[in-house]
């Protein structure tokens, strides 16, 4: 799978109200950032089931980013707090199962933080690149 010119594939699960708007702002502001990220918009980080991340890996992602509103800013008041709690546990589960945590990232990006989004994506892609292609997971495919 690892050919010349391999670029990591990142799936970003973002919330509709903050991070998606932030990423949109980055676009409308014509900020340039790495193109290896695929953005999936959801109503809220609280909507993101751990299975989404597993599914992303199954479908060939090398890294996953989950991003939503800053604490206190959630459009649904508490979705991001619930998500935060879930990620504390899920992250440890992935680590215990032997998945490199360089592949899973979490962040808060608000609707105005286009610059943070740009830097975040570039950083995440560099980190995932250092972890290499997720061959171990792809080998599980039948």
């Amino acid at each position: 799978m690892e050919e010349k010119g391999w670029e990591p594939r990142i799936v970003a699960f973002v919330c509709n109200w903050c991070t998606y708007a932030g990423a949109d702002l980055a676009g409308t502001s014509r900020l340039e950032y790495r193109p290896e990220v695929r953005i999936i918009k959801l109503p809220c980080t609280g909507r993101i089931d751990p299975l989404f991340i597993i599914k992303a890996f199954e479908k060939g992602a090398d890294g996953v980013l989950v991003s939503g509103c800053h604490p206190g800013d959630c459009h649904y008041t508490s979705g991001n707090y619930h998500a935060r709690r879930r990620w504390i546990v899920f992250r440890e589960l992935l680590k215990f199962a032997g998945i490199d945590l360089r592949r899973v990232h979490f962040s808060w990006v608000s609707a105005s933080e286009a610059l943070k989004w740009r830097d975040l994506i570039n950083e995440v892609i560099e980190t995932v690149r250092s972890a290499g292609p997720f061959e171990a997971y792809r080998r599980l495919n039948p």
Binding site: P50, L51, I54, K55, E58, P71, S78, Y81, H82, R84, R85, R86, W87, I88, V89, F90, R91, E92, L93, L94, K95, F96, A97, G98, I99, D100, H105, F106, S107, W108, L120, E123, A136, Y137, R139, L140, N141, P142
Partner: protein, 299 residues
């Protein structure tokens, strides 16, 4: 055995007074070698009830909504060890059960065997269930009638394999080795869902593993679906699992599910200071939140 006699007496009393319609306990199977759950409805049958270290099942499984036929039999009394009583606490906490709907026959327990076939008249550090090695609920935390005298808390199985040590050792290994360890186990999974069926806290009416629009978890027994299933199952029990050890016992291919469940219990205790099963008040930790939850991993 003294406790056994007292258990039968209490069961007879409850059935004769019509306080309960059904006593769920342990009894011998047909050939008298193994122990299985029994459902006693008539006072004259109470002598079928037994108590010994082979009484491993968590009988609270039968008072969940997974068993409408048991529910239809009327008001139940259930024989519970300490670990089983913790399940009842979680079921009450999650609104699955009202305390007054069940009579708990709490039975102080000094350890049960890991697998019945390993039992040879005595519980030793070789054949003891891993939950008993770290047990702190030899006396049930919740009961209506205590069968016999309380016993002294504390393990008494020094030198037996300790699950927390095993987790620590696994934690120290490099990621790749942990991955290989789990893949080796998950690869054997035949997706019989025995772990789910035996778990009293896996009570969803429709499991995500059976939903196919979309198909979240591959149904055939190969690596991809097996990893998804086992991680999802562990995740859904995080902060709820009371370590009754039934999933690992029921697993036909010996996947060390206790390790993964207890790892998450440790994470939950460390992060949210919650130990499931010790009280029925409050909420399970993963359906609530605190403003102070750590976020050192979030950018």
């Amino acid at each position: 055995m003294d406790r056994e006699k007292k258990l039968r007496e209490k069961a007879r009393e409850l059935l004769e007074s019509k306080e309960v319609d059904l006593v769920i306990g342990y009894g011998w199977t047909r050939y008298g070698k193994r122990v299985a759950p029994v459902f006693i409805t008539r006072p004259e049958d109470v002598d079928r009830l037994i108590w010994n270290p082979m009484c491993v099942n968590n009988l609270t499984l039968y008072i969940t909504r997974k068993y409408p036929d048991v529910k239809a039999m009327g008001r139940p009394a259930v024989v519970v060890k300490g670990c089983d009583a913790k399940t009842v606490n979680v079921l009450i906490q999650e609104g699955q059960l009202k305390r007054e709907d069940v009579v708990l026959l709490g039975i102080p327990c000094e350890g049960v065997v890991y697998r019945q076939e390993l039992y040879d008249g005595e519980v030793t550090k070789e054949n003891v269930s891993p939950k008993c090695v770290v047990c702190d609920v030899k006396n049930p935390p919740l009961y209506d009638h205590l069968i016999g005298e309380k016993v002294e808390e504390g393990s008494g199985f020094e030198g037996a394999r300790n699950i927390y040590q095993e987790i620590e050792e696994l934690d120290k290994k490099p990621e790749g080795e942990r991955w290989a360890f789990w893949m080796e186990h998950f690869e054997r999974c035949i997706r019989c869902y025995a772990c789910r069926q035996i778990c009293p806290l896996c009570y969803c009416e429709r499991c995500i593993a059976e939903k196919n629009m979309p198909q979240w978890i591959d149904t055939s027994a190969h690596g991809r679906g097996n990893v998804a299933w086992n991680l999802k199952r562990a995740m859904d029990l995080a902060g709820r699992c009371v370590f009754c050890g039934e999933c690992e016992r029921a697993c036909p291919v010996n996947i060390p599910l206790n390790l993964i469940n207890q790892k998450l219990s440790m994470v939950v205790e460390e992060s949210f200071n919650h130990r499931p099963g010790y009280e029925s008040e409050g909420h399970p930790p993963l359906i609530v939140y605190s403003l102070e939850d750590r976020e050192d991993f979030i950018r």
